[in-house]
Amino acid sequence: MSSAAASAAAASPAPADRSTHADAHPGDDTARGGRRQRRPPGRHQRSETRAALLFLSPWIVGFLVFTAVPMVWSLYLSFTDYGLLGEPVAVGLRNYQRMMSDPKVATALGNTFVYAALYVPCAIIVSLGLALLLHRLIRGAGFFRTVYYLPVMAPGVAVAVLFSLLLNGNYGLVNRALELVGIRGPQWLTDPAWIKPSIVLMSLWGLGGAIVIFLAALSGVPRELYEAAEMDGASAWRRFRSITLPMISGAMFFQVIVLTIAAMQLFDKIFVLFGNPGAQTSASDASLFFVLYLFQQAFQQLKMGYASALAWLLFLIIVVITAIQVKVGNKLVYYEGGSTS
């Protein structure tokens, strides 16, 4: 962060300043000595650096103004009481202490975890299943891929609205269809036990992206492997288990991480269904997701300090979960380069 700040400061007002500075203190450059021998930092190198900084300037400014400063600011706010009016009042660790005893935080986290734990495996299985189906197609794969990807294009709000009608417990399509086969469908969006499965269902409709990624991974598996296995008499399941799965494990690992992070931050569908003032109050506890609670604290209760602390908690949780996944993943994922060495 500080290095970027230094180069940014040098980049904007007077780029020439930087080079004279560097010339005046050649000792500063000892760390780059090795590179220097290969490529003496002559006039060309300096002009190249200047040109590069010019191209990078939008990002440097944006990084400082919309990422670095807000991060520090957010961390600061998390130790204050701030209601938008007046100045932030320092309260030390009180926001973090409050978080620990706030039952809503536990509820929201619990709901979010349950949802992620339900959604991610379902999404992986369903999208891999669909990708395997599509992968076998010789003609028409494009058509089916379009069909499965189309829901991704629908705005999240439209999806939430549509599914709130389809999943309506009394006259929705889903329960009417279940009635035909003699099943009495649940009150999907108001029964606390069914809220998470409903949202999983809703999100599964939009997993076209995962299908496309698995399709790309599947088409990268060398055919010879299957042919060799078939000649050795390996069954379809055995081929899937011993060839397909290891060969696409990298893509699967990527999906698990990305889908988990997205699941932890699910917002728009939740807001439309449960966050609107007056909406579905009966199920409020079961439908309180973490980012919804954060949003409510920040922009409805105007507790900006507390909300900032919540944001950092979410960040920390995501980092920990991702780190665990990477650690476990590195053991399970098959890397082509690694096995041959």
Partner: protein, 306 residues
């Protein structure tokens, strides 16, 4: 069953071949059953994925009392909803707002990300890897962490209740697109740039006349991705917009949902909700129909790099 005449034919050719023919009949029939199951699954699932759309389209053509009759073909089809929905809410304004914000967001983010990506891909300079590492790191940062201070920045700039915060940050590039475009620029042969430089091309010329024209597919990909992201975004409009006439489509649709949903004390005019939901989706479906290749290639590319 239809495999029998075929097998019978082989039997007729000679007794010696019969055992082999009988042996091969079994897998062939199983293959056919597998094919039927396979196509049934494929078509059934496709129908399942399309049915919500079909339901939505159908419901939009139904009068108020029949929206929930769940018929695929409306009993009394009507175009009334498509006429009235523009009057019950400023839908046309919302569409215009969304279109304007989406185009601004996509155009600015494409240009700025391409510039930055080119800076990372083409030039060699101190701290390059460290700075690129920062780009990757910010890609992982959840938006929630910076959401509140960024809101306060726009507030201090007097930009609350304007469209500016919905696309303004795109002027500075987006880490994910910088990453994608850099990968693309790195595949361009360096000799091209060296030749142009010898011909007296400036640095900006290298970007403008060589990198950009050769990277059109990647740039279009970024553009359409951002169009979709901007069009579908609810959070930013929700945070920044108060004035109903500034609403974008997702925020407007949400307000219609609240207004007409009886659960929230609304009037129960679901025919307008379904019609608005359908209309909000149509532009994205059209874009997908035209630019499908870019979406599919782009999604696949993200995973390859990840």
């Amino acid at each position: 069953m239809s495999a029998i005449p075929l097998a019978g034919g082989t039997v007729a050719v000679g007794e010696a071949l019969a055992p082999a023919a009988v042996g091969s009949r079994e897998p062939r029939r199983r293959n056919r059953t597998a094919q039927i199951v396979y196509w049934a699954a494929l078509l059934g699932l496709a129908a399942l994925f399309l049915y919500p759309f079909a339901w939505l389209i159908s419901a939009s053509f139904k009068p108020r009392a029949e929206v929930f009759d769940n018929r695929l073909i409306p009993l009394n089809p009507t175009l009334d909803n498509f006429v009235q929905v523009w009057n019950v809410a400023p839908m046309l304004t919302w569409f215009a707002n969304s279109a304007m914000v989406a185009v601004l967001a996509a155009a600015t983010v494409t240009v700025s990300s391409a510039m930055v990506a080119f800076g990372f891909a083409y030039f060699r300079f101190p701290l390059r890897n460290l700075m690129f590492g920062l780009v990757l790191a910010t890609m992982m940062l959840p938006g929630m962490v910076t959401m509140i201070p960024v809101f306060l920045i726009w507030k201090d700039l007097g930009a609350l209740n304007t469209r500016l915060p919905l696309w303004g940050t795109n002027l500075f590039g987006s880490p994910f697109y910088i990453f994608l475009l850099r990968q693309f620029f790195l595949t361009l042969p360096r000799e091209l740039f060296d030749a142009a430089r010898i011909d007296g091309c400036s640095n900006f010329g290298l970007f403008r006349r060589i990198a950009v024209p050769l990277s059109r597919p990647a740039l279009i990909m970024v553009f359409v991705f951002e169009i979709q992201a901007s069009w579908n975004d609810l959070l930013k409009p929700l945070i920044y917009l108060r004035d109903v006439n500034l609403y974008t489509i997702p925020l407007g649709l949400n307000s219609l949902f609240v207004k007409f949903n009886p659960v929230a004390g609304g009037e129960g005019d679901f025919q307008y909700i379904v019609t608005a939901a359908l209309l909000s989706t149509v532009p994205m479906v059209v874009i997908f129909a035209v630019c499908q290749r870019y979406f599919v290639d782009g999604i696949a590319a993200t995973a390859r790099q990840g």
